[in-house]
Symmetry: D2
């Protein structure tokens, strides 16, 4: 259940305050050039402690590849990766280990497992996603071989929305913009507003959420397996598995439910011998299968559950009501750091289905 | 890929204009009392031809159980079910078999499979969902044993939204209301407005979409398997696999992304020795695991793709642009008939996870 | 659990004395020419009532394809097949429904499921294998496209062993011989001895077992996924899932355990630019992956459990010891009719792995 | 494909001459007491360099648990384990990296993956099984809770067979005997003969194989999922996945194929209110489900492929025939060290099915 995928399969492991976080990527084709540097680049984008709006936990998140690569190329065998936990400060969790933090998984994990690692959220911590980003970096390299490019960015924070459009031609420039502002959005001016909203919430001891949009360009038509391994089903599952995600929509998503059919349908036309659609309201997926247009997904992220404000809750050991004020090191808004995680999950799904459909062979050399 | 689930597993088969639609339910515990009547009740709710706002295709959708049941009880062996296609009228599809219908899966299935059954959408037709409703009826019976009740209704059609709340105590009354209006909503007055919006679209040769909300009551805390078989991931995958669904949200979903943490977090309290939350913004799921509050999911359904209006498109055989006006028998709004399908998918996920977590034993007698 | 395979997936259903036996084949590529005749040919080889050494149950075993095929070609969607049970005579089972038949699954199924279909063994009956043969016929057609040919025959019955060797060049002639003798072996003279041993056992109210050898020719090197989806693992699992099979060996199997390494190792050489081995003691599989030599598997089948002789046993309802003498229609030796089942299981494994490794594409046209 | 199991799932990774070997055990219930010592005990039994008949590679095989355990108990989250490779000597492999070693996976892995780690067999090395033994130790602890005890021993080496019988009462004594002789058999006198046969082969530059028998006591009736996840199928798959295994039989296996039904059937009787069988020819499994008698499996292991004798083979780079004499550190007979691996695989299968059938709960505390 800690495994994702059908051919390209990711298994993650590790707790927030344990030895570290790791993963095993199984099913990656042999012959792919791969170095730790390829992976480190992505990890650095997710890493905590990058700016005033992220947690102060200092993790270098250096990845070690322990298997599956030989002389700079993948072997087709499982790729084991490990990221050590270094800056662990578990002390603050001792005193609140029986106090259920609202919005967190404390209660449900306790109900399910009985025995839990209460330090920093244990395995339910967002820290687990570092393993997904590591795996996603491999998937992304694989996808590049068939021309697929994936880009995610902050669409909305605290209700502040960016409406700029992205086109494939500008992708490098867009990436530069995204990585040059603290909130990872595509409009520098709106970035300032978003950052301010985050800092305001932070100074209030509160938190905010937002929306991330992810687009995959150059996805060939034919990816996705009806009826239940549809591309949209797999993407919804992948995205919803990211902590704090509470909604997923494909293409125009919920807006489509308010359109007329004549407005919602994407009309077909021919360009350079290829069949395209004039609009892309369906987000590149029809009948669960990619149609060759960009695959567009948007996800809703709730505000960070850890807040400084006083909240009413329960001491589960004493079975008594009480209150809590959460200290510790937290992101007042998790959206910017979730951007590379969302890219990773999109990469994993597309790599898996590219293998499943035969667009990428099992052996590259 | 036509199989859904881990322990309680559904495999569906069949094309819209073939012999019929069927399914195999594997992993149902032995000893469950089950008759064709149990299943027929649910099928009758999904059946076409029920009112002026549904397709005129006349299907009685009578289910036959072909295996897995003996002397009125399940054997623990696969339950095979079959629903014959009776009212097939494929003629209209012959002339447009090479004309891509906008919004439909014609193009993508053709790209993926090459050889397709173009009659009535073939396997991509919504007719496939009759098998899910049949399987869902079994799952629902199973869930009843541990007190879980599931109810879905039309939340919104063409932007007309019902805001009434549902509580567990009123569930029988609510069910009666839902089944007594053509749009399957919970407010009779708003039902009329919704029906009018559908009929207006129909007379325009157009279509409308909407939103369905589904609630599962009495779900015990502890269902869902982190990290990737989280209850919310599985529900998102299940719902997104329903044709025409383009968005899924859990609890307050996209609205949560615009709240503050202090507003979004559900505070815990104690009632009769049980830990509950004062609000249920998280929709009954925290950290991927049910928390004992009602599980609430909303899904966005796009307007029916088949419309009478003229649309621009492509003849894929001649590779020339052309136009199409779709005749034939279609629902101008698929939302009301999707309500039982949504209930079925929720039932399947919860039954599967109840087995996985041991809340329901593999053998009932 | 009633599903076999990873890409090319078979789900079977049905009880011996229920409506019939069926299956769903999912993951078959689109564009494969397929008729009911292709499947019927194989079913006819497994059919009961073919000679004096098989059961008297008269089943024509006519297959109906209910989905997944359109205009004579597969659609890439699930292929549902149904074989009706016609000659059902359940009466004899009523009186012994609580008496455990030694060697049968009566006791274990009852322990596992509580409620069982005691008529003719229910789902534990060998009759379930008719669905495997139907599915295997499709797999076999698929494999033919890449030149793979599979042949199984009776190697031994009641200790009488045939030592003739099979080579690919003679395959058509060998098939003719196999299908022209009642025991399905490759030496007509020994066939007589085997038949006599079966008839002797039959007249004694007893039964005999034997060994089947199955060989797949023209398997390309590279099939099989280490470490756990090795080709030999998958074959062992497939073969052991056939009722009455109690042993599986690859290549020289158990004999290899008594050889020296210098004798057991197959030396490599080059012929026409291909790397071959001088001997084939490893049965075409090294390190879990096919090496291009014929894949050779042998399976041990126990004597039919149903015998006329008096046996001591238990009445599970009364929990008292008793005796039983089994009447009814049974094969005194199941080996000849298991031959096509063994071919089917080999076909299923190889088709699945050919798809997994990309030797067969997901779309044929 | 490097993952085994359904609920209790093992994923292994690592190459013989890489950083180390590791695994992730997913699906272990929470609340199981577990220390590195529990695992180390089993690893020490598999460790190389234990006697004159094993390889001289010196590995301490110290296991580190990196996740999934907190305060001495399992969390229900993935248990990651790591065993460092220390005594690596890859030099000898450089010169023969293009020479196919007969009996080894060199050729097939090269065909499948193109790019391979030729050092010490890479991932095809028997060294990978250290991860299985680590995981098996956890499974074994779990099984102990419901009274299941597993014991494997060398039944035969180089044709020298031990015929002593094992009964549950003597299990501790038998274990002591097994671990006190170099060949891990249950008869000290025959142990000497076996050891001599191994040393003779070694001094000849040759190798020998053998047979291992594994018995699970106190398995409750009802384990195993028909039709395809039968207990015997799963065991066959598990055993055949061990390198060098070429045959598997359940109970009397191949011998059964030569018996009469009246001899092969195990008659039922009642003892202390339990239904037992007088004999156990079926090896504790009927119809794919355990019957409460000891589960007995025997596996055939081929002689070690690495031998000092000159063998004819091919240089795959030059595509020329050549010869090879393998130096390096090898076991002249792998059977004794495979004994704990066989126990591990049996433990994994039984733990998985105990969870699947509900005999072990998902949460222990």
């Amino acid at each position: 259940m800690n495994t994702f995928g059908r051919i390209f399969r990711l298994t993650t492991w590790g707790e927030s305050h344990g030895f570290g976080i790791g993963c095993v990527v199984d099913g990656c084709p042999s012959g792919l050039e791969l170095t730790e540097g390829d992976i480190q680049n992505e990890l650095d984008r997710r890493r905590p402690g990058q700016s005033s709006i992220t947690t102060e936990r200092r993790e270098k998140d250096e990845v070690e590849i322990l298997s599956g690569v030989f002389l700079g190329k993948t072997l087709g065998t499982p790729i084991s990766m490990f990221i050590k936990n270094r800056d662990i400060d578990s002390e603050k969790y001792e005193s609140i280990k029986n106090i259920l933090r609202p919005g967190h998984a404390d209660f449900t994990w306790r109900e399910k497992f009985g025995h839990v690692d209460y330090r920093g959220g244990g395995r339910a911590s967002g820290r687990e996603t570092v393993a997904r980003v590591a795996a996603g970096a491999i998937a992304r390299k694989l996808l590049k071989r068939i021309g697929i490019e994936i880009i995610a960015y902050t669409k909305e924070i605290a209700g502040i929305r960016v409406e700029d459009e992205i086109s494939f031609g500008d992708i490098d420039e867009i990436r530069r913009i995204i990585d040059s502002n603290t909130v990872r959005t595509i409009n520098k001016k709106i970035a300032k507003d978003m950052e301010r909203a985050i800092l305001d919430a932070k100074s209030d001891g509160d938190s905010v959420g937002g929306i991330i949009e992810v687009i995959a360009f150059n996805v060939p038509p034919g990816l996705g397996e009806p009826i239940f391994a549809r591309l949209d089903s797999e993407l919804a599952s992948a995205m919803m598995s990211i902590p704090s995600v509470k909604g997923v929509e494909i293409g125009d998503g919920f807006s489509l439910s308010r359109m007329k059919g004549s407005e919602a349908n994407d009309e077909f036309f021919i360009e350079n011998g290829r069949i395209l659609t004039r609009t892309n309201r369906c987000g590149g997926i029809l009948g669960g299968i990619s149609n060759g247009m960009p695959v567009v997904v948007r996800i809703a992220i709730k505000p960070t559950s850890s807040i400084g404000k006083k909240q009413r809750t329960v001491d589960i050991e004493k079975m008594k009501e009480t209150t809590i004020q959460i200290e510790g090191r937290h992101d007042p808004c998790i959206v910017p750091r979730a951007v590379p995680v969302v890219e990773a999950m999109m990469s994993l799904v597309l790599a898996d289905h590219s293998l499943l459909s035969g667009f990428i062979p099992r052996r590259l050399s």
